[in-house]
Symmetry: D3
Subunit: 339 residues, 6 copies
């Protein structure tokens, strides 16, 4: 049952089956044991299994923006089989059960997304708050600000090479910006901050700041395998054995040679990529030796932390603390009361 089956046409019987389904769309995070569930969800993965009695059933992991739940289809027709596919958007009706504190959805009805359904992908899966094409345009406008024509060409060539994947790649497998378009969003906010701090610290060479930001994480695209929804299944073989920092350095070396980029500029940019994680134990065997490389590190970490704080406090009431957040050294964050 391949990816190609997403959006397969439904036959009449299936349409008939579906017509009683209400329009209510319930978020996964709101599921309560003993209640009905109804709505559009994305199939993250599925498997056909057998009970101990030898009866086949479908085991599915469903996601939406708010969470994830395991679901079962105990009885199903051939038509159902053609609907269930990885990354397919489906409309589902069922009952929420609870088993040892873990919720599970028993699916009673399921159909594929119809052309008349207005549900959009970014309503179903976590994604950056700005449209990818808009972000790409913005990032390109910063690339255009680069005065040095060699550096500008390098940056534009590398961006072109990865442009189609930039539309959906996340910035990480998990943690900050690990959602569709996250890599682009992370890059854009760092460019905005870099631009502004360049006004305060006006001795900085902005060509390196802009180029460094755009290139610093771009090889995450070849470090990780992401589907078109920004979900990373795994790291690649080269990603595991070398990592995006080493990959990014080679990218600049090779693409730089192609366009005759001066060794000086190439090495400085490679050094920026090499040193941007700052600490050896986080992957940077050299510390920044230019002010632009130093700033790059702080632009990176500020954007990650602001992301983490904003999202962690989203679900906290004013005057309350969050749970301990592992990513932030187990801190309990505090949300100040509204003034």
């Amino acid at each position: 049952m391949s990816q190609a089956s997403i959006g397969d046409m439904l036959n009449d019987k299936a349409k008939e089956q579906m017509k009683n389904m209400s329009d209510s769309n319930k978020n996964i995070s709101e599921f309560k044991a003993g209640e009905k569930a109804d709505g559009f969800y994305l199939i993250k993965s599925f498997e056909v299994k057998k009970t101990t009695n030898g009866k086949q059933y479908i085991d599915i992991d469903l996601v939406d923006k708010t969470g994830e739940i395991n679901a079962k289809i105990w009885e199903y027709s051939k038509e159902t089989e053609s609907i269930v596919a990885e990354s397919a958007i489906v409309k589902v009706r069922g009952e929420v059960l609870e088993w040892n504190g873990t919720k599970q959805l028993k699916i009673n009805k399921i159909r594929g997304k119809l052309s008349t359904d207005t549900i959009k992908i970014n309503e179903l899966i976590p994604s950056a708050p700005i449209e990818p094409s808009e972000m790409l345009t913005a990032v390109k406008s910063y690339a255009k600000k680069i005065n040095d024509s060699e550096i500008k060409l390098l940056v534009e060539n590398i961006m072109k090479k990865y442009e189609s994947k930039l539309f959906y790649y996340p910035a990480a497998k998990k943690n900050h910006h690990s959602y569709m378009g996250g890599l682009l969003y992370h890059t854009l906010r760092m460019l905005q901050s870099g631009d502004k701090l360049g006004q305060v610290y006006d001795f900085l060479k902005m060509d390196y700041v802009y180029a460094g930001v755009i290139l610093h994480d771009i090889c995450k695209i070849i470090e990780m395998d992401s589907d078109e929804y920004g979900v990373v299944s795994d790291y690649t073989m080269e990603g595991k054995l070398l990592g995006h920092i080493i990959q990014g350095i080679k990218e600049i070396e090779i693409e730089g040679e192609k366009i005759g980029l001066s060794r000086e500029k190439s090495i400085i940019l490679q050094h920026m990529v090499l040193s941007h994680h700052y600490e050896p134990e986080f992957g940077s065997p050299k510390k920044p030796m230019t002010p632009e490389a130093e700033l790059l590190h702080f632009l990176d970490i500020i954007d990650a932390r602001m992301y983490d704080f904003e999202h962690a406090l989203d679900i906290v009431e004013p005057g309350q603390f969050s749970d301990k957040i592992w990513l932030l050294d187990n801190r309990n964050l505090y949300k100040p009361m509204e003034q």
Copy 2:
């Protein structure tokens, strides 16, 4: 021989003595063994000593913006004694000697600064690149941006309390911003950066950002003893036993109570001061738990690092590396070639 003797009137004979002195002003960093030296310098400290023969001489440490040198006056009159005072600006003529690789100035002539001399203090001693009064006005304008009237009053009261010392206090005994007006300059640049990053990360509560920046280091004024030239002789007793972070927390607690600042706001501001060094081993037993406290840390460290990089590279030729810089983990910084 007290501070009060700076600028003592010279008698006629002394004036006569001085009239052959050229206008050339040589920087201490340019002194070469075997050459003459001539110029205005600041007396950092001095002591009257005796040779093994029992003859009195004056041992002086002279500074200017470029460095420091030990000097001796072997023969001198009563008039000279009245000129030599700590923190006095003097015009000196002598010869540079070298002893085991260490330079020393043998002073032949010395006089105090005349009212007709146009030399200014900030030409002689390291100081912030902006006039203190201008910086103070700028910092106050950020304080005015605070919407919450309680927090604004707190900030303004504390600034008022320390205003006269803000004119000259450095931000450190040594290291970054350890010059006259350095504390104010450091504060101002952090405010500028905070203001700008607040435009990128627009969920931040800017009242806390502005107040946190202004208050975070203000108790360095009671942690260190600085003279009016921004030279710190030592830490205070309370500074050594508690430190400016603890002092700053108490300041907010007490001044907050005086104006009826709500506990919530007072504690949040105290927490910002407490956590701004981020790591326990650098003095912060708690890590930031609000996004504004988190940002405060990065504003602080970025400003320190940009200062360090800018100054370390000042004296490096393009295409060359600096010496190892202890403050920056012994990095050799690189100054890119001009493009």
Copy 3:
């Protein structure tokens, strides 16, 4: 259902229900699956929940000195509702079940503590081995030994302020001395040890030793929220954002100012509180700079460790090792054989 309902009078019917209940009191640690349980326990917390069938039941956590167990009341009357309250002492009869290795108590009968029941609170909950009033008297006698009248007044004022809470506050949320009266017991044993070591190291200024011990942890009372049984529900907002060390410093600063305590003495005492955890990563940004502060740290840690060792070995047979103890870096402690 408020705290006020503890000890509510039972109506006749309830009394009738109870009269068959035996006097046997079984410790929670001795509960075995499949057996009956009967005895007095403290209600740590409870919640009214619904089964998937919509039927209400009460979910209770019961504790005694030996442990804790989750219990359910599936059928209950209005009278039962009035009995079940947080921190109430109840007499319970039921059956012990086991579910995936976890024990649970099915409560068949429950009643409140009668005035005729002789059970005492310190038989039901973990508490210090000495009566609070006796401990308080002892601690006060050490305060009286302070020769310096200013320091003595400071210590007595602060003790008076927190006296009522000293009766039951534990020294921690968990870990050492985390039981009713634990803070006082910890303080008292440190005073005893300090007194004795002061005889060996007779150059020590005992005024600072006694004052430092009494004040070092006293702001745990405003760092944590404890009920009157020494059970800490959570840290306070100020406790989380600042911590008892910072709070203790402010306490001394402010109370010291009120009575005109000299700056010298106030700062030395504040420094003792600041440095008593010794390592930055445990909350002390400054290391002890006076011998009395140095000793304070060791008095604190010795008392904590002796507590940990004594309690860990309580349940070990001579000639055997304890399990790994996380608090003590996963050591297996050894209990020597009786000689």
Copy 4:
């Protein structure tokens, strides 16, 4: 020129030479360049050297309780040669010179200690404040308190074995208690403290506390080579390759076997020695697993720290800070003002 030459008889001529020497005894720490020096000192080491002109002279290091100075005898007779010996006490007269900030003594006259001189060794060299024989008696009285006859016999046997060296061995080559009798003094104070804390923590098995204290450092005697003045020239070969902890364990194993000490007791005592430095990086690969081993560590460190604090503050004025003390993590200690 051997040790045996200490106290050689002086011939008449030498006596004549000396008779003008005054009785004034000047401490080395008070030597000032350009002044005369006169007094009794101990010869720490000496060497006969040649000038570039081929002329022989004697190069001597002199010490007293207050410090150490290098001295030269440029002209000398055969008699002088017989006086100068390592560890000899001599009376010296000379002039203090200064060379690049380092003081040196030019010796004009020197003679050996006469039987009529009342100077005592502990007036000349650093040593414990109690007489060795008195300390030994006190330590033995603690050994007698051990109830278990096997453990008591073990302790007494080992003490007997090293008794003659215990009279003068220091506790260290440098750092705390690195003076004559220091090992005994350190042991005694730990016994006193252990005795007292055993009254507070009355569950402790005092036999192990006393035995552990007496044995914990006793193999420093075979780890280091000390002369009879408590000056350690070097560590022994076995000391360097194994260290006193390992040596102490073997001592207990072997001496225990000789007297039929039970394996249980032997291993527990060996474990106490093994774990008393607490941290692997300080030489203890195992952490204490019995409460007595845990306490032993704290008795050890408290005594070392109290020694360090007391001595560091000896030379500090009330209300002042000491210099940075490397041994104490570069802390500046504070000496409170007298009240």
Copy 5:
């Protein structure tokens, strides 16, 4: 039910029962829920338990080379009781069940190993790939290469003392070489590597290399309690309180004294044992001070790591990564594709 019951004779009825059992031998790692299982396994441990209904059953842990499974015998006769013994080899037939993702074997038939069964112990339990007697001969041949007669005698004496246990002792409780004969296998491979590297680094004193390797871990035999199948139940009391490094040092000291081994050689060998873990936190308070001690450490770690890598990659397909391996700092190992 003692160890002696292994291989108890089966009565006729039992033989009858067994005769239908097929010869198929299924590995534990291949067990699938819902399928039959049949084969020879080793009883690691067992316990007679009761159901909540009071019915007795036997709870057994079975192992073979491929894994471990919990099994239950719900119905059984007296004969069965005599068969079930710790470390017994049994033939078993049953059904594999699954419970919350954990497999369990329901045993229907069980019998002891018959004299006619050809199953060997090293087919059932993890063990070194070479016969113990063969390994022992090989290790002894290296001991014979030692030229120094004292050192050779020491090594041979100590080996003789532990020879019977060397046949089966593992090198660890878990981790590398934690199987039957593992200690001998680890020792042998280190000897082979040491021999070869001695050809490259020909300044090494091979007597110390061979002796050091043979003695470095030999006291694991008195640090751990292993049964004759190389399964370690626990560490010994002395093992926990001192550890095999300290035990090995004492062994050399004492056995060396017996044969008059020179102090020099004894201490050098003790130092090799002491330092072979290299880092204090891994148990070596001294770092190697001879080249032979230095090499010993690397021989040890190379053999451990090669073992870990070989075994971790055994179950990985070429071109794939292993799971994260905790022992190897959570690395995912990669198995290169066959070329």
Copy 6:
């Protein structure tokens, strides 16, 4: 005065001057103050300076295999100027002086090396104990053992590229193998050890072992600037900003692409280079994930350590300890007594 002036012809007068010079060749390490010195040395660096009197003199650093000394030529002719050149071999006669404990050579006569002088460069400067050409042949023979033709071609191509520099490059600026031919010698010994350990651990893929060893440090040639005597003046710009590990990875990537090396093999080799320093803080952000990469690390460190131990003990007497060796964590190494 350029390198080209080495070996300039001497005119007759100079020859005359030299003819009285004896043939004795004194090692720098044997120089004693007040004695004559005479022999061949290498000029490491030199500078023409002026005395305070304005008189020119030549300041030279001379080296031989045993050490280094600063020398001065106070009087000299034009001919002398043509002789003195960096890296020139010269014959020198003079007197050894001493100044504050530092020796200095006053040169009275100096001439260049004559064609009739039989002195060889490796008698004057530290160099590997095997002839470079012999080492190169040996290394190539290991490269030939590689079975995989792609990997063999890669290795041979990269070796060819750097062949001329391999003849003299050291393996480091200082520390182990920092002498002429050191890189080749280090590589060869690692190949020998790898070959031998591959016989013990026969599951290893030797192609990767041989290739990994040859390539692991080869980019030290572009990381450091070495003269033809193996003396490194500095690191290169790319060396400082990236380092030889990153440079080596790029080398394999680019050279691999040229010959169509499969991605799998290229990445595995790059990973070996990346991980061979093992710890992030030593430059390896990834730990080895293949057994061959793991072994490579140990081959590298064993060779470095054996080098350090052998050289440190060279100058130690049997039965003695070396001084503390900073490179080896300040260990004092022990040289066992000859047996």
